[in-house]
């Protein structure tokens, strides 16, 4: 595993230099924080490459926390829960994750590829988060079945994530970015410093053959879709053939479900009032009826 990491470290830097919209220098100039509220996402975390000097907001943040630099499991779990919340808020297309029942540090996931070379691929994977998160290495992503891909280890199924996050920086790097990255590699093929040299060579030299190998790989993965989850966990993601008795109802629920607060008091008093006209900051700017004062 070690050579694997060291290898990807170098590769990662080069690769991102070449492929991302900007080099590290540029990113330094505009460090991007995850913007929770925005719908549009950067295709790949721009801040993936470590910046030697943290940008000012971050430095202030970190400085004040100096005395309590270590986090107990207590904070760890909430941090992971917060990460998970961020993932949900990002609404990543075609990606679904679920933390395991046994450990918050292990997340099960599945990714649906909807177009491109890997179209129709359904790849299950597991995210392993280092237990010294967020101060450790970046999370690992391991596909259940090694997908034929230059950046996926043909034996272990591990995706080369490190090249995109060669140093994990809390506050800047988030797990949703890793997932985003895991999706992107299937749309933008990168053959530099591959974990699967065969795939890389084929992609560069004989795309047709590469394509057919990919198709085979996708078929293989999909044929194992209904297998028992590799890891035995109550929350592991498992597929089963469509069973109307079970799935129709679940589907219906998914479409109709409206989340409401838990234990919302019955007969709650009027609340959540607003008479502010959008765009205004004046109270009662949204007039409903005339009131002569």
């Amino acid at each position: 595993m070690n050579p694997f990491w060291s290898m990807s470290t170098n590769a990662g830097r080069k690769r991102t230099d070449g492929e991302e919209q900007g080099g590290p220098g540029e990113q330094k100039a505009s460090p991007v924080r995850p913007s929770f509220g925005k719908k549009q996402l950067p295709t790949i975390p721009k801040n993936a490459v470590p910046v030697t000097k943290p940008s000012s907001p971050a430095s202030a943040t970190q400085a004040t926390n100096g005395t309590h630099a270590s986090y107990g499991p207590f904070y760890l779990e909430y941090s992971l829960l917060a990460e998970f919340t961020l993932v949900i808020k990002q609404k990543l297309p075609g990606i679904y994750v679920q933390p395991s029942y046994r450990s918050a540090l292990m997340w099960f996931g599945v990714i649906f590829i909807r177009h491109g070379l890997y179209q129709d691929g359904v790849f299950k994977f597991t995210v392993y988060i280092p237990d010294n998160y967020p101060d450790g290495e970046c999370p690992r992503v391991v596909f259940d079945i090694p997908v034929f891909h230059p950046l996926v280890d043909p034996v272990s199924g591990e995706l080369d994530v490190r090249r995109a996050f060669n140093k994990w920086r809390r506050n800047h790097n988030h797990i949703w970015q890793v997932l985003m990255y895991a999706r992107t590699v299937f749309y933008k093929i990168n053959t530099m410093e591959p974990l699967n040299p065969e795939a890389a060579v084929l992609y560069d030299k004989d795309v047709q053959l590469f394509k057919s190998k990919v198709v085979d790989s996708v078929k293989l993965c999909n044929s194992h879709l209904f297998d028992q989850p590799k890891i035995d966990d109550p929350y592991a993601i498992s597929f089963s053939p469509w069973n109307p008795a079970v799935h129709e109802e679940a589907k219906e629920k998914m479409f109709t479900h409206k989340r409401r607060p838990e234990d919302q008091p019955k007969g709650l008093q009027v609340s959540g009032l607003s008479w502010v006209k959008p765009g205004s900051t004046q109270p009662f700017s949204k007039e409903e009826y005339p009131l002569q004062t």
Partner: protein, 1148 residues
């Protein structure tokens, strides 16, 4: 086909029974009934015809009545004739009644004959019986409706209404009519049209007749309101009726102005004994008839608004605003007497809690937010009350708690958000951080780290505890002690937290829920928990482990709040609305809203001239004494205040906070109270004044509570009966001596504490200096001050004359005192001396001035001085680099009296410049200002140690509520401990840091602190359990306050709301007050000598005073620690909270 032919099919069965009520079997057969009816009618009609021809007497009347009774009974019992028609065909008797127009002829006969009340009553009852019991719909037949309307018209004089003896029958009849109308909406139309024909175009008679009974109490009023509601409901979609009601009836004005009338009969003073009382519960007002009456009518308004036609709703809301809120509620809230303020605030709170209709609530909120009374919005006025003394503060806090519970954007905008919108409170570079959440628990960690070391004690070994709490407890106790390499969390149970996320996020399939049931974090586990987890915890160590409960509480709070806010117009995240587009919020008030009360308070003086002024003062004094009695042992509290003020100026960093350099604050501020009339006019009061208010802050109340439940810390209330029984004259005589004594002892008390703090804290040299500094201040002479008072508006000027007494007292004081406390004392003295021997029951009605009014005045005097100080300080802070400055020392310098002579010479506005000559004038206004609400909450928080337990519980509850709001601007302001604010903006964490240091300093000098802390926890836990066991259901969402309220088992209905007009009572109050002044003096006196004359034996009073102080602090320590956990939990939960999408407008 005749009715006879239709009656025969009776034998065929079934059809005739179709509409039969199963409970009343029809015994007689219809044919027989008809024959009997006809028989009666023949005899009656004979009489009617006779009468028509002129004759007739009492016998006729009796005969007609008897026959009519029989006839109508038969009619009522008749079943519809069956058939498939809808409405069902008339029964034979009804047909006969219609065709012969029997009822109309009967009524006309009566009317022509002259309706005596007896007949009226009989007829009303008869019709009521008929309509109420009839088995077939009657009112849709004009042959029934017309005579009914005729009768009603005859019974009610258009001018004088209905004779009182008929009221009950009339209302009952109308109620019945409305009930059947509600069943057959067509009747409404008919009524409307018939009415128009009969009564002219303007009368929906049924309706008009009911209106006068809207506000009646008892069954009658209820029936009338029910009936009206039925009309409203039936006519909700009938535009014509809607128009009729708004244009041709007095319904809305009667309803609204009726509320005004009812309000004016409410008790002006709410008398409660419970030290924790702060809001009217149902049990409280059910025993107060006038309040019940009002609430019934308010409920009725609410119901009308809910169901009525939009036209009516609009008109009613309009009238409520302009006919009740503005002319009645507004002035009521601005009453000069504190008692009345308390009452009106509590009423408003109650009203707001009772309203359920959105548009009605909007009317109230609009009034509160926008209506200006004497230039201040109601909201501003209410805000200033938070900083007042105990009861008014608590009632006000309760009101704001209610307001916050609405999650109303408009309110939050005015209260907080508009001040945060421009983002000027954060450093420019920090603006992006506004939206960050506490991803890694750093803020939570920071909050938890502020739990004072002395509060981390645990009583029991944690061996027996389950793994889970122990784990949490451990982590909480020492977040830093964890090794850098963390074991992977081994307990899957807590991961149940994820479940909620999964179900909402659309990620993944439904998860097995096995093994979740017993997890502490499972959201749905077990029984509903009490509102505040800390109540559950029996002892200290358990309290430590209650963190999971806090997390759950926090999550619940955040979820409910963000759900409620999902339809707000903007996210308030620092970008939308744009900080640049945001209108700059109002600057700190230049005129003190609370001051506006004072001129009003003394308005009599204005009118009455000097002699009256003297009387007024006397009244104030009497009131003041009463206040003393009500908040017993205030004097014991004074040195506490000083203590607190010493530290109140503590700078941000922990190291500095213990510097006693802040001590000069107190001395300098108090003496300057004499200068108030001129100085205070320009500065905000709400801010930074709380420390002084703590002087009066619910201290005596602690006694009561402790008396009842905590033997260990018990302090007996000592009523000086001997003193009280003294005659008035003797009492008056004592005033002089007593007050001198008290001033001396106060001085001593202060000094005593001062030395104590010195020894403990190893003060910096500056403290010594500060001790001396205040001296020059009192020497400011009144003449210098006068000019500036002319700058004030007339009322201010008036007030300044009214308070001129203190300044003269001041001069005498300067000779003998070295610090400022005396000035307040002297003010009291002065006032006492001018008291006539017979204490005045108060002003003209005995209510204008209350005990608390006097405090109010004192407080304002101090406030103004304080405000000036704040001014100074903000300059100070503004100029300093936050990292290098030593605010404590700096302030000590800046606030030291040498500056003040200058100030005295110049007007307030000019002195601004003098305080900080380097800066241009007006700069302070440009400083970021977080608004009066936050300011007053923070200053109240800062003085937590002096607040009573109940104030603290309410206060922290409100901050918790605020911190639940998901809007990033507010969330980051309160919970992001990493944000860097502008130097002049105090952060919550700074405030809490100050409190922490104070508590630790206190604990350091009290060896028995740990045991006291345990006792306090045990008491709170026991009390919490009691509260909870009381009634777990039907708790309005008032969070903690409820448990407090609930703990007062006996209903207050009989205790509260008694007028205090009785001169005897006023006198007693005054006597008691005086006794307390003396007591206080004595206790302070002994306190003075405690250090000097060691071992002379501390008096009981001294112990009491000390115990009080200690108690407040110990309870504060408990609350404070729990509060920090709450905040930490909130910070964490915000990071994992999922927003709710706005509703699609379906559910509004």
């Amino acid at each position: 086909m005749s009715w006879l032919s239709r009656i025969t099919p009776r034998g065929t069965g079934g059809r005739t029974d179709r509409n039969a009520a199963p409970s009343s079997p029809c015994t007689a057969d219809p044919e027989t009934c008809l024959m009997v009816f006809e028989n009666h009618w023949r005899q009656v009609s004979w009489v009617l015809e006779q009468r028509d021809s002129g004759a007739g007497g009492a016998d006729d009347l009796t005969a007609v009545r008897n026959h009519t009774d029989q006839m109508l009974c038969l009619l009522a019992e008749e079943r519809p004739a069956g058939g498939d028609s809808d409405p069902p065909a008339m029964g034979p008797i009804l047909q006969l009644v219609s065709s012969e127009n029997i009822l109309e002829r009967l009524v006309q006969w009566h009317i022509r004959r002259g309706l005596d009340p007896d007949s009226q009553m009989a007829l009303l009852k008869l019709f009521e019986m008929l309509i109420g019991q009839s088995h077939q719909p009657l009112l849709q037949h004009t042959s029934v409706l017309q005579p009914l309307l005729m009768l009603l018209g005859a019974c009610v004089d258009p001018q004088f209404g209905c004779p009182s003896n008929l009221e009950a029958s009339l209302v009952l009849l109308l109620n019945q009519v409305c009930v059947s109308m509600a069943r057959q909406p067509a009747v409404l139309e008919l009524l409307f049209r018939c009415g128009a024909v009969q009564q002219g175009p303007t009368n929906l008679l049924i309706f008009s007749l009911l209106v006068p009974f809207i506000h009646r109490d008892g069954v009658l009023g209820q029936q009338a309101r029910d009936a009206l509601l039925l009309v409203m409901a039936t006519s909700a979609s009938n535009h014509a009726v809607g128009r009729y009601i708004t244009e041709n009836s007095y319904f809305c004005p009667v309803l609204a102005t009726g509320l005004s009338a009812l309000y004016s009969s409410l008790p002006r003073k709410i008398e409660v004994r419970g030290d924790d009382w702060h809001a009217l519960r149902r049990e409280d007002w059910m025993g107060v008839p006038s309040l019940v009456l009002f609430m019934n009518s308010l409920e009725f308004c609410n119901a009308v608004v809910q169901i009525t036609h939009p036209l009516v709703r609009c008109q009613l809301l309009d009238y409520l605003h302009n006919g009740f809120l503005v002319p009645v509620m507004g002035p009521a809230l601005h009453k000069s007497s504190v008692d009345e303020m308390i009452a009106s605030t509590a009423y408003l709170d109650l009203f707001l809690r009772s309203i359920t209709e959105k548009s009605l609530l909007k009317t109230f909120l609009r009034f509160i937010l926008l209506h200006r009374h004497d230039n201040d919005t109601i909201l501003d006025t209410l805000l200033t009350r938070i900083s007042s003394n105990s009861r008014l503060c608590m009632v006000s806090l309760s009101l704001f708690k209610t307001l916050l519970s609405f999650n109303c954007e408009d309110l939050m905008l005015q209260l907080v958000l508009r001040y945060l919108l421009p983002c000027t409170h954060v450093m420019l570079s920090q603006r992006r951080a506004v939206r960050e959440t506490d991803l890694y628990g750093k803020s939570a960690d920071k909050f938890l780290s502020l739990i004072p070391e002395c509060c981390r004690i645990t009583t029991a070994p944690s061996g027996e505890r389950e793994e889970e709490p122990a784990f949490w407890g451990k982590v909480l106790g020492s977040p830093t002690s964890e090794s850098p390499v963390h074991p992977r969390p081994s307990t899957p149970s807590r991961l149940a937290l994820f479940i909620r996320q999964q179900s909402s996020g659309g990620a993944g399939n439904p998860s097995p829920s096995s093994g979740l049931d017993n997890t502490p974090s499972s959201p749905r586990s077990s029984v509903p928990s009490p509102n505040s987890p800390m109540h559950q915890q029996p002892d200290a160590s358990d309290a430590e482990s209650g963190y999971l409960e806090y997390l759950r509480d926090a999550r619940r709070g955040i979820e409910l709040c963000s759900w409620a806010c999902r339809n707000w117009s903007a996210p308030y995240d620092g970008e939308n609305p744009s900080p640049n587009a945001a209108p700059s919020p109002p600057p700190p008030p230049t005129s003190n809203p609370s001051l506006s009360m004072v001129p009003e308070h003394f308005s009599m003086q204005q009118r009455g001239g000097l002699t009256d002024a003297a009387q007024q003062r006397a009244a104030v004094v009497a009131a003041a004494r009463a206040e003393w009695s009500s908040s017993e042992r205030n004097s014991g509290e004074w040195d506490v205040t000083i203590t607190k003020n010493c530290i109140s100026l503590t700078p941000r960093s922990k190291k500095r906070s213990l510097l006693p350099s802040s001590i000069p604050m107190q001395p300098s501020s108090l003496p300057s109270s004499t200068t108030v009339p001129l100085l205070g006019t320009e500065e905000p009061t709400g801010s930074h004044t709380a420390p002084h208010r703590a002087l009066y802050n619910g201290t005596g109340q602690v006694d009561e509570r402790v008396d009842s439940s905590d033997g260990g810390m018990e302090v007996k209330k000592v009523k000086r009966d001997a003193d009280v029984t003294d005659g008035d004259s003797s009492m008056n005589g004592r005033v002089g001596t007593g007050s001198i004594e008290s001033s001396l002892t106060l001085q001593g008390g202060y000094r005593d504490f001062h030395t104590a703090s010195t020894t403990v804290k190893k003060p910096a040299p500056s403290q010594v200096q500060s001790n001396m500094l205040p001296q020059p201040q009192p020497q400011r002479s009144p003449p210098i001050l006068q000019p500036s008072s002319q700058e004030c508006n007339p009322s201010e000027g008036q007030r300044s004359t009214s308070t001129s007494a203190p300044s003269t007292a001041d001069t005498t004081l300067t000779t003998c005192s070295t610090h400022g406390l005396e000035s307040v004392e002297s003010l009291i003295e002065e006032l006492l001396e001018q008291t006539p021997s017979e204490p005045q029951p108060g002003d003209s009605n005995g209510q204008g001035i209350s005990i608390e009014a006097f405090h109010q005045e004192l407080r304002e005097l101090e406030e103004q001085v304080k405000a000036r100080k704040v001014h100074t300080r903000s300059f100070d802070e503004f100029s300093q680099d936050p990292l290098t400055a030593s605010p404590g020392a700096n302030r000590a310098d800046e606030e030291c009296p040498p500056l003040e002579p200058e100030q005295g010479g110049a007007g307030e506005s000019k002195t601004d410049g003098m305080f900080s000559p380097a800066r241009p004038l007006g700069q302070p206004l440009a400083q970021p200002y977080i608004g009066p609400f936050m300011t007053v909450l923070f200053s109240k928080l800062e003085s937590m140690m002096q607040n009573s337990l109940y104030v603290n519980i309410l206060l922290t509850g409100i901050v918790f509520q605020l911190a639940c709001y998901p809007q990033p601007l507010l969330r980051s302001f309160l919970l992001n401990t990493n944000m860097v604010f502008q130097p002049s903006v105090k952060s919550l964490i700074q405030v809490l840091g100050t409190v922490k240091n104070r508590i630790e300093a206190f604990a350091a000098v009290h060896e028995d602190f740990p045991s006291m802390l345990r006792k306090a926890r045990r008491f709170l836990a026991a009390r919490g359990k009691l509260d909870w066991a009381d009634s777990p259901t039907a708790v309005p969402p008032l969070r903690r306050s409820d448990s407090l309220v609930k703990s007062r088992k006996p209903s207050l209905g009989d205790l509260i709301l008694r007028h205090t007009n009785s001169p005897t009572r006023a006198r007693h109050a005054a006597q008691a007050a005086l006794a307390h002044v003396r007591d206080g003096g004595q206790s302070l006196h002994s306190a003075l000598f405690r250090g000097v004359v060691a071992g002379t034996g501390a008096s009981g009073l001294e112990k009491q005073a000390e115990a009080l102080r200690v108690k407040n602090t110990v309870y504060c320590a408990v609350i404070f620690s729990e509060f920090l956990k709450e905040l930490a939990a909130l910070a964490q939960e915000h990071a994992v909270a999922m927003p709710f999408p706005p509703s699609q407008g379906t559910e509004e």
